[in-house]
């Protein structure tokens, strides 16, 4: 019996790809034949050895196929035509309106992804989501029996030696305000830049804004942000681009506060990463963000740019407030680390896995081991 995963894209620093790798690690530990399948055109060069081409995918009736769904792509058709039992993991689809004018082709794919969402969910054996927010979206569409399997977080990816060059570059007297995430319109990074303009010009000129994340997803939006930073005369806005795990650990290390102005998120993993790194987090209350925060850090709604600048100032200078924020975040991380991920997964897969596997996952099934060895990682 094999438990394979099908993805629309497979990239470094991507939350869905990260989740797929975590699931594969667990499934391999349990002894299943398990691989990640993806269209080679959408795979990061560094991850080519970690997955297999979509064209190679085949399945028997007693196999399980997990499909991570967040956009319309050929991978969904491959998943739907699979002979295996089908489980869809819904990671949310960004509303296409955010991309209108910034990337028409991507907006069209997002619209297509959302328009076929209900039909896709009705053709599968089980529907999982990574947050209650995503589950509520599906229920509103009339999809029944939605189960929540919160996004997996592996703190080991951040518990590494941070990139020394980044530490050396940004460990100075300036206060570092950090944002981590793909540079895409639904993140509303322009709101953060405008707030930073007030913070830097009127409150504390000894400050910088670090924007870390891939700028290839929406280059036109990225160009707009750079233009905005120029308009506001902000040389201290640093667009750092994509960061490796060591680089990411370094940015969290030098950060004094993490701010997320995003208006649409299915979950938002960087918030958890910042909390793990003991960086005070300020996030807009939107989408799945309250679930990722889970009562920790600071959440806001309805602030304009000057008010957000003031809130950032408080989170940087008020020691009592900082203490309260950090204590709540540590509590959140304690809860997160105590999570029994494997037990949760076992419960969700109980209907399809052999009873021996459910009992303790000690008996590795032999079928599919070949495929596993071929991809040979972990």
């Amino acid at each position: 019996m094999n438990v394979h995963q099908i993805l629309a894209g497979f990239a470094d620093g991507d939350a869905i790809s990260h989740e797929a790798l975590q699931l594969r690690r667990i499934l391999r530990k349990w002894g299943y034949g398990t691989d990640i399948y993806c269209d080679p055109a959408t795979v990061s060069p560094s991850l080519r050895d970690e997955c297999r081409p979509l064209a190679d995918y085949s399945a028997a009736a007693d196999d399980i196929c997990l499909h991570h769904y967040g956009i319309n792509s050929p991978s969904t058709d491959c998943f739907l035509s699979s002979a295996a039992k089908k489980i869809i993991i819904y990671h949310n689809i960004t509303p296409a309106e955010y991309f209108d004018g910034f990337d028409d082709a991507l907006a069209a794919r997002l619209r297509a992804g959302r328009s076929r969402l209900r039909d896709v969910c009705r053709c599968v054996d089980a529907v999982w989501t990574v947050s209650r927010f995503n589950a509520s979206e599906l229920r509103a569409l009339g999809v029944a029996n939605v189960q929540v399997f919160p996004l997996l977080f592996s703190h080991q990816t951040l518990d590494i030696v941070p990139e020394p060059l980044i530490i050396a570059k940004f460990s100075d007297v300036l206060k570092n305000i950090l944002f981590v995430g793909r540079i895409v319109p639904n993140k509303r990074i322009e709101d953060l830049i405008r707030a930073f303009a007030w913070f830097n010009k009127a409150i504390n000129p000894y400050s910088r804004l670090l924007i870390v994340g891939s700028n290839r997803s929406a280059p036109r939006y990225y160009a707009m942000l750079r233009m905005l930073a120029g308009d506001l005369d902000l040389p201290n806005v640093c667009f750092e681009g994509f960061a490796s795990p060591a680089g990411l650990a370094a940015y969290y290390r030098v950060a004094d506060v993490y701010v997320c102005p995003s208006v649409h998120e299915g979950y938002c993993l960087p918030l958890v990463e910042a909390m793990h790194s003991d960086v005070p987090v300020i996030a807009r209350e939107a989408g799945g963000i309250p679930e990722a925060m889970d009562g920790a850090g600071v959440m806001y709604a309805g602030l304009d740019e000057v008010e957000l600048a003031e809130l950032i100032n408080r989170a940087l200078s008020d020691k009592d407030l900082i203490g309260k924020i950090i204590a709540s975040q540590r509590e959140r991380m304690k809860k997160m680390k105590a999570r029994q991920t494997e037990e949760e997964l076992k419960t969700l897969l109980a209907a399809w896995l052999p009873s021996s596997a459910i009992a303790g996952c000690q008996t590795p099934p032999k079928r599919g081991a070949q495929a596993s060895a071929k991809a040979g990682n972990d």
């Binding site: 007030w198 850090g297 304009d304």
Partner: protein, 175 residues
């Protein structure tokens, strides 16, 4: 419902002149205490900031005008239009941040002196760079104009060919 001159609390949510706000810290609603204070400070900052406030740019030519683009092509039109306003940089004086105290004043004075000393060289470099930037912007505009001319010509010929085809089909159908 509590109502103050400017602030109002309705169902636990803070409003200011009809503007909604909410702040939670460690899961507790701090809208009233923290939110009210932040709003007051922000309001006074807006009044007092003066020269320290971020530059104000007309909505028509500000970067955020790009958000109005309805398609990729529309974005490009907006972008090149906005680029024309930004293809040069100036060497005007600028605010030098200074720390409090005599040491801060001395450092600011030194930085100011060096800026005055080096400005002439900066003017020369700025002149050359702006010349290149301006020529590049013109090149992009010429390229776009040429492409539009070609597209218009192709559209015209295509329309002509379609009309001819329709006429032939109609004639064949009539026979």
């Amino acid at each position: 419902m509590l109502t103050f001159t400017f602030f109002g609390i309705v169902c636990g949510e803070l409003y200011f002149c009809g503007h909604y706000m909410k702040i939670t810290v460690a899961g507790q609603d701090c809208t009233e205490e923290l939110g009210g204070e932040i709003r007051r400070k922000a309001a006074s900052l807006k009044k007092l900031a003066g020269r320290a406030a971020p530059p104000e740019i007309s909505v028509e030519i500000g970067a955020l005008a790009l958000q109005k683009a309805s398609s990729d092509a529309d974005y490009l039109d907006h972008f090149v239009r906005l680029l024309r306003y930004r293809d040069a940089f100036d060497t005007y004086d600028f605010d030098i941040p200074r720390k409090p105290g005599p040491f801060g004043a001395m450092m600011a004075g030194i930085k100011s002196f060096f800026w005055k000393l080096l400005r002439y060289q900066h003017d020369r470099i700025a002149f050359r760079q702006n010349l290149i930037n301006g020529l590049f912007t013109s090149a992009v505009e010429f390229e776009m104009a040429e492409r539009k001319k070609t597209d218009d010509e192709l559209d015209r010929r295509l329309a002509k060919a379609e009309a001819l085809l329709k006429k032939l089909v109609d004639e064949r159908a009539a026979k």
